[in-house]
């Protein structure tokens, strides 16, 4: 009872505070504090954001011409529909009538042209969507129509347009890095580095819009204090917990279980010794016992994978998990034949803010000891990981989850093409490159799916990386709220959250 009163009192206080500043509408206010494991350090500019953790948040602020929904389909967003020309080279997007930016201005064809060109790297900076190099030009047909003309036909093109990195921002923006303005259901209010980011419901959103008015994203980089924050009541929701963390939560939380839609693996830098030797990579894959990792780190929960594709991407997924059954003897033989009979040592770089990867890395280190390979763990801050490992490729191995930023198979697989910009593993395989070229030229969906599966097999056979799992995602949501939705992508959709009974 007294708790109830306290809560009511608190609601009243919030309501008063809000009505004081927004001048009315006291009834509609509601708020939630969501914990996030890292600050959005890379960039708030959608065309520059690299980290999955940044993009999943920006998903609520920005939208592209199209966007993915929770079933994995592409739905119109800033555009209301699009048509494809006969030759498959011209995509004609019609803009929605009532789309406005957070600053109140309507979205114009100029904004779209500016955004797509900026995103495609045509105005300077490098593009994060390599498939956009295929764009020949962006043309404004009339006030409401924008044509994107491609050099080569690309069936996957709509999926890239739905990528967060292709979001639409105002052409006259001053500084999207620090003052983000988009069209999403939530707008950016303010931030305090290493502390929080404040979002507010965008009232003029074209679609259904958000339920909860105010969101505080609280940065909790110290994995140890997440449970403390949740149980203490200062955070209402936290996605991507470990199973140990969920077990310690009080019964005021509902634990939702889903998949993270990523591929957790020890990614190997093939440009450094000894990972330029296929046998070494295979030996390591034989030595690592995935089930044991799951048992130790997540009470057996998780979905083992054998290549760079996660199970919920069913259309393209091939089960390759038994390519390397745990076999210490075989691993040792392979190592010996590769010229490392006594093993070798290397270091695994792991971002320090993500406990599940750190724990998995510790188990991998222990398992590799059995074949005489000594690995040490190098914990780095997320930003250093991005600059050193991802962009700089200065590392030996890294344990991380890689997700699909577009709803296409190539989002997972294209990065292993030897000349891909985002090939941070420096994987270089002639046969694989040929498959990539083939899939680009192919227009039959069936054939493409087949080639993608061959690519997955190629990665598995050559032990491109030590594949582990698509992790089980545990989301803790306070029982005051409901409506959390899992996506088949690495995305957090805050707009669907609501107070119970709201």
């Amino acid at each position: 009872m007294s708790k109830m009163i306290k809560m009511l009192a608190l609601c009243a206080v919030t309501a008063v505070a809000l009505s004081a500043c927004s001048g009315g509408k006291p009834d509609a206010s509601s708020s939630i504090t969501i914990g996030i494991p890292q600050d959005l350090e890379d960039s708030l500019d959608p065309h520059e954001a690299v980290a999955a953790g940044t993009k999943e948040i920006l998903f609520n602020i920005y939208e592209g011409l199209l966007k993915p929904d929770e079933t994995g389909n592409l739905v119109p967003a800033v555009a209301s529909n699009y048509t494809i020309s006969e030759d498959g080279k011209t995509y004609s997007f019609t803009l929605r009538d009532d789309v406005k930016f957070h600053n109140g201005q309507p979205v114009t064809a100029e904004d779209v042209k500016y955004s797509i060109e900026k995103s495609a790297g045509m105005t300077g900076a490098q593009s994060l969507i390599s498939a956009f190099s295929n764009i020949e030009k962006v043309e404004i047909k009339d006030e409401k129509t924008v044509d994107i003309v491609l050099t080569e036909p690309d069936i996957d093109f709509p999926a890239y347009v739905a990528n967060l990195n292709a979001s639409i921002i105002p052409a006259d923006n001053k500084d999207p890095k620090t003052k983000p303005v988009g069209t999403g259901p939530y707008m950016y209010v303010s931030r305090s580095p290493q502390e929080n980011i404040i979002l507010k419901k965008f009232d003029e959103y074209w679609g259904e819009g958000a339920n909860i008015t105010d969101i505080t994203l609280k940065v909790i980089p110290n994995a140890d204090s997440i449970v403390m924050n949740l149980n203490g009541g200062s955070v209402d929701m936290f996605a991507r917990l470990t199973s140990t963390q969920t077990q310690q939560l009080s019964k005021n939380f509902n634990i939702l279980e889903g998949e993270m839609n990523l591929v957790q693996a020890v990614y190997l830098n093939h440009a450094v010794e000894p990972f330029d030797n296929v046998d070494v990579c295979r030996a390591l894959s034989y030595a690592v016992d995935v089930q044991n990792i799951l048992d130790l780190t997540s009470d057996g929960k998780g979905f083992p994978v054998g290549s760079s594709m996660f199970p919920s991407f069913a259309k393209y997924y091939v089960d390759l998990t038994d390519t390397y059954p745990t076999d210490i003897k075989k691993a040792k033989e392979l190592l010996a034949s590769a010229g490392y009979p006594d093993g070798f040592s290397f270091s695994i770089t792991v971002p320090s803010n993500y406990q599940p990867h750190i724990e998995a890395a510790q188990v991998v280190v222990e398992q590799l000891k059995k074949i005489g390979v000594t690995a040490d763990i190098k914990l780095v801050e997320w930003n250093s990981w991005l600059s050193d490992v991802y962009s700089g490729r200065q590392y030996e191995a890294t344990l991380i989850g890689v997700d699909a930023s577009s709803l296409t198979a190539s989002a997972m697989l294209d990065r292993f093409r030897s000349d891909a910009d985002n090939n941070f593993t420096n994987y270089s395989n002639k046969e694989y490159d040929d498959l990539c070229a083939k899939v680009r030229a192919e227009s039959s969906d069936e054939e493409r799916t087949k080639i993608y599966k061959d690519m997955e097999k190629n990665l598995a056979d050559n032990a491109a990386n030590i594949y582990i799992q698509d992790m089980a995602e545990f989301v803790a949501l306070s029982d005051k709220y409901e409506g959390y939705v899992f996506y088949p992508m690495y995305v957090q959709d805050f707009a669907k959250l609501k107070l119970k009974g709201q």
């Binding site: 449970v227 310690q248 188990v363 000891k369």
Partner: protein
């Protein structure tokens, strides 16, 4: 016997400290050397196993024997502290000896510098070094070691200043002993009493500094373990397994208690 009782009563810190420090060091080193368990061997079946005859203090989140890990972590912590203090003492003594013995402009400049560094919280300086060198056991030792040099240099310099004009030094000089000989054969032994207590106190500070840095995640890196690192891991399980954090924290506290009493006792004694 009566004599011993009298001495204990006169300086209880020295004896209690010595006993606590000796016992905890003995347990940690003995466990480190003779524990039948591999400190890193993981076992899914024994996650958070309760204390039993086979696992004296139970197991941690990876099913590793907690007692063994405490011993290994403790020895790592002690080793880092010892290495750190050694760097501090050796270089501090050299700097202190030369500046104290010769004095002059070099002394003036170095001591100004020394005071500047001493006025600044040592862990912050260590953080700056860590950001230059990177994390890891040996880098922590070097970073902390450098930070410890000035305080020892100051102490040793003071002793040399006091001793350089004493009679025995003068007579040694008259007998034709070289400066180096006077500095390191004649004067050095006289600094030992003061140096000894400072070393023990410094050792204690090093234990705390290492623990803080590893706790912040910029010291010892897994799979290596130190007590600070373990405490930071244990904090994640504070709700389900509070004993993990409490045992680890208490081990640090007992080490610090023992050595701080010992240091105080030695200071009194000297």
């Amino acid at each position: 016997m009566k004599d011993l009782m009298f001495r204990i009563r006169k300086n209880p810190e020295l004896y209690t400290g010595a006993v606590i420090a000796a016992v905890i060091s003995f347990i940690l080193i003995a466990g480190f050397l003779f524990s039948p368990y591999d400190p890193n061997a993981m076992s899914a079946a024994e996650k958070f196993a309760a204390p039993s005859v086979s696992h004296l203090l139970g197991c941690d989140n990876f099913g590793r024997d907690l007692f063994t890990r405490l011993c290994v972590g403790g020895v790592t912590t002690l080793f880092i502290a010892l290495a750190t203090v050694s760097i501090g003492v050796v270089f501090g003594t050299i700097v202190g000896a030369f500046t104290g013995y010769y004095g002059g402009a070099v002394d003036e400049v170095l001591m100004r510098f020394n005071d500047a560094v001493l006025a600044f919280p040592s862990i912050l300086l260590a953080l700056v070094f860590i950001s230059v060198f990177g994390s890891g056991t040996f880098k922590v030792i070097i970073s902390l070691g450098i930070v410890f040099v000035p305080s020892f240099a100051r102490i040793v310099r003071g002793e040399y200043l006091r001793c350089r004009n004493l009679d025995y030094v003068r007579s040694a000089r008259l007998m034709g002993a070289g400066d180096l000989r006077i500095m390191f054969v004649h004067i050095l032994p006289n600094t030992f009493p003061v140096l000894l207590s400072s070393t023990v106190i410094g050792f204690n500070n090093a234990v705390l500094a290492e623990a803080s840095m590893s706790f912040l995640g910029i010291g010892v890196q897994p799979p290596d373990s130190s007590l600070g690192r373990m405490l930071s891991d244990a904090q994640a399980f504070l709700f389900s397994e509070p004993s993990y954090a409490i045992l680890t924290g208490c081990t640090i506290a007992v080490i610090v208690l023992g050595f701080s009493l010992l240091g105080e006792g030695l200071k009194k004694h000297a």
